[in-house]
Amino acid sequence: MLVGILVVSSYMLVESFAFSYQVAIFPRFTAIATICGALLLLARGYLPESVRNAVDDSGSMFDYEEDELVESEEAVTSRAERDGEHEDASPHAERQQAILVGLLAGYGVVGYAIGLVLATPLFVIAYSALFGIRKRIAAVLLGVAIAIALSFDYILPVDLMQGGL
């Protein structure tokens, strides 16, 4: 992510030299600030200890209540562990999140091709299948999603039946 931020801000900094002074000053100033921050964060491991501290440290005014926050989180976590829910089983969690990101990309592309109203039921069916939602609940979700899509098509001043192609 940091590399992405660095690439985008570097491009925007270089491009800003093609603008007139007034148009360039703000993007140039913010691009330089972004690049400096991103470089510091990327090079954190190679910095002297004092500089690394400065990069990692929080300037929080409310540090003193972190203990209480942690305590509360522990209480919630222990309750969750007891009940076997809300566990971030890491590989499983990452797989689920990756699947959802893939579905999002698919939803966007298919929606662009055939229109969001038609893409919506396909997205919900795919989600239900991939996330193991029971058929009865999946049917309810599908019905609600179609109702939302048709309502939006009616309410919003945009034709959601049309794709972007």
Partner: protein, 501 residues
């Protein structure tokens, strides 16, 4: 002045469908707040595009009612299943859930509703009384001050919030940078558009907000196994005795409301901090023979009065200077700007009636919270039985369709999806989301004021230091960023001196 403005505000509130939107907002907010994993940010983000058809005052009143309702709603799951519906109700679990385990769930829920309403009411009345003074302060600010206050806001948010200061500043600067895509307001030359019309209007900040606060949250939620479904919560206890408990603790309730208001007014702090600070203060000032964390009603009062107090407090920097105090107020600010209501002098002069109508709607909203909280208390357990995993596809559908409705521009759909993923990574790697969002929202305002300031000073940067207020803001920003960094840089030296001693 205040009298005629309030009369105008009452006219806005009691004509047309405004009160209906207020009621819808509060109810929706309570439900959204009560479902763990959702919360006010998501609720506001998915409703925002739907407000396109509403008038400015109706839209803002709907949004702020959702925010206020969600603050109370968060306590329901905290009390019944020990899982705070929102971060703002985290401290409520400490005594609220213990009360449920002791067969006093109804007491705890009615305490929460009453304390939320009373704390919120005192805070909002104070805000209304403070408004004339705020107006005087806001009118002292010109272009240089508004540019500097935008930078100060981002700096303050990164300092107040937990996490790396450099990460926060980087996120804020990147947000400001992305806001420069398209046609700048002040100077008519396209930037970073790749000669495509899609990018001429730049990134829509509302689409970015929806992406980060709705899609990003859903990606995060998808990684949590199972839902929050929970049946069989015993709804025992007495509504009446809960109300009496709050009435018997007026000092705790009012003090907590004001603590919430004060902390809410500090950008970046928000209700999640306020409820812990208020809880800690109540524990500190309590008589030694009171035990907290084992079902003490004062613990619930402290937390709940504070988090509703933050709503009024957070409106001070948001309306006055365009610096939101939290994710929710950032979306609210987006809503204001989407409806042509710019924060700052406009809201305190030409649109003062609208400003007061929003404040009055909060006042009425707190009464609605009290009524709903007390009369529908036995129904609240149904909300905690909702499996939030079933809501993921519906929230995504809502967000995606709504984003296309903003301008009919497909770029907004892809903005929502892209920034959903980007927001998820920001959360994962502990970057300040609020700083990034604030950068995106405030970018155009900051740039416009920067260019105007430079035009006034013939290009000289001295305009930012040659008057008392700009000088003070510059010094405050430099101090805010510089001090923590200097402290960290000096830490090895301090350790060396200590070991030498």
């Amino acid at each position: 002045m205040i009298g005629s403005s309030l009369t105008g505000a009452i006219d806005i509130l009691f004509t047309g469908t405004t009160l209906g939107w207020l009621l819808v907002g509060v109810l929706l907010g309570i439900v959204i707040g009560a479902i763990p994993g959702l919360g006010p940010n998501l609720g506001l983000a998915i409703v925002l595009p739907l407000t396109v058809r509403l008038s400015g005052p109706d839209a803002i009143i709907l949004l702020i009612s959702i925010y206020s309702g969600a603050m109370y709603g968060g306590s329901i799951a905290a009390i019944l299943i020990n899982t705070p519906g929102t971060a703002a109700a985290a401290a409520t679990t400490l005594d609220g859930y213990q009360m449920t385990r002791q067969g006093r769930a109804m007491d705890a829920l009615s305490i929460s509703a009453t304390a939320s309403a009373v704390g919120g009411l005192f805070a909002i009345v104070t805000l209304i009384l403070l408004t004339p003074y705020l107006t005087t302060l806001v009118l002292l600010f010109g272009s240089p001050e508004y540019f500097l206050i935008a930078l100060f806001g981002i700096a303050l948010i990164t300092v107040v919030a937990r996490g790396s200061l450099v990460k926060g500043l980087t996120a804020g600067a990147f947000g400001l940078l992305l806001s420069t895509i398209g046609f700048p307001i002040a100077v008519g030359q396209p930037r970073y558009t790749f000669d495509t019309m899609l990018l001429f209007d730049g990134l829509n900040f509302v689409a970015v907000l929806i992406g980060i606060f709705a899609i990003g949250e859903m990606i995060k939620l998808a990684g949590e196994r199972g839902g929050i479904a929970r049946d069989g919560v015993d709804m025992d206890g007495s509504v009446f005795s809960g109300v009496v408990d709050v009435l018997r603790a007026p000092i705790t309730t009012i003090k907590s409301g004001y603590i919430g208001m004060f902390i809410g007014a500090i950008p970046g702090s928000g209700a999640s901090i306020a409820n812990f600070v208020s809880y800690a203060e109540t524990v500190r000032s309590g008589s030694g023979d009171e035990e907290y964390g084992s079902g003490n009603h004062r613990g619930v009062i402290a937390s709940e009065a504070a988090n509703n107090g933050t709503v009024a407090g957070s409106l001070i920097p948001t309306f006055s200077f365009g610096i939101p105090g939290s994710g929710s107020t950032a979306i609210l600010l987006g809503g204001l700007m989407m409806h042509g209501l710019n924060p700052g002098p406009e809201l305190f002069t030409t649109n003062i009636d609208i400003t007061y109508s929003v404040f009055l709607s909060l006042l009425i909203g707190n009464i609605v919270i009290l009524a709903v909280g007390l009369f529908f208390i036995t129904k609240t357990s149904y909300v905690t039985a909702v499996n939030s995993n079933y809501l993921i596809p519906l929230v995504i559908v809502f967000s995606t369709l709504g984003s296309l409705g903003l301008r009919g521009n497909w770029l907004d759909v892809f903005t929502v999806l892209f920034f959903g993923v980007f927001g998820f990574f920001l959360m994962t790697y502990d970057y300040s989301i609020i700083a990034f969002v604030l950068g995106i929202i405030l970018g155009p305002i900051a740039e416009e004021n920067l260019i105007r300031s430079l035009q006034l000073s013939d290009g000289s940067l001295m305009i930012f230091v040659n008057e008392p207020i700009p000088l003070l803001l510059t010094l405050m920003t430099v101090t805010l960023v510089g001090l923590p960094l200097l402290k960290a840089l000096a830490s090895p030296f301090r350790r060396y001196v200590a070991s030498a001693r």
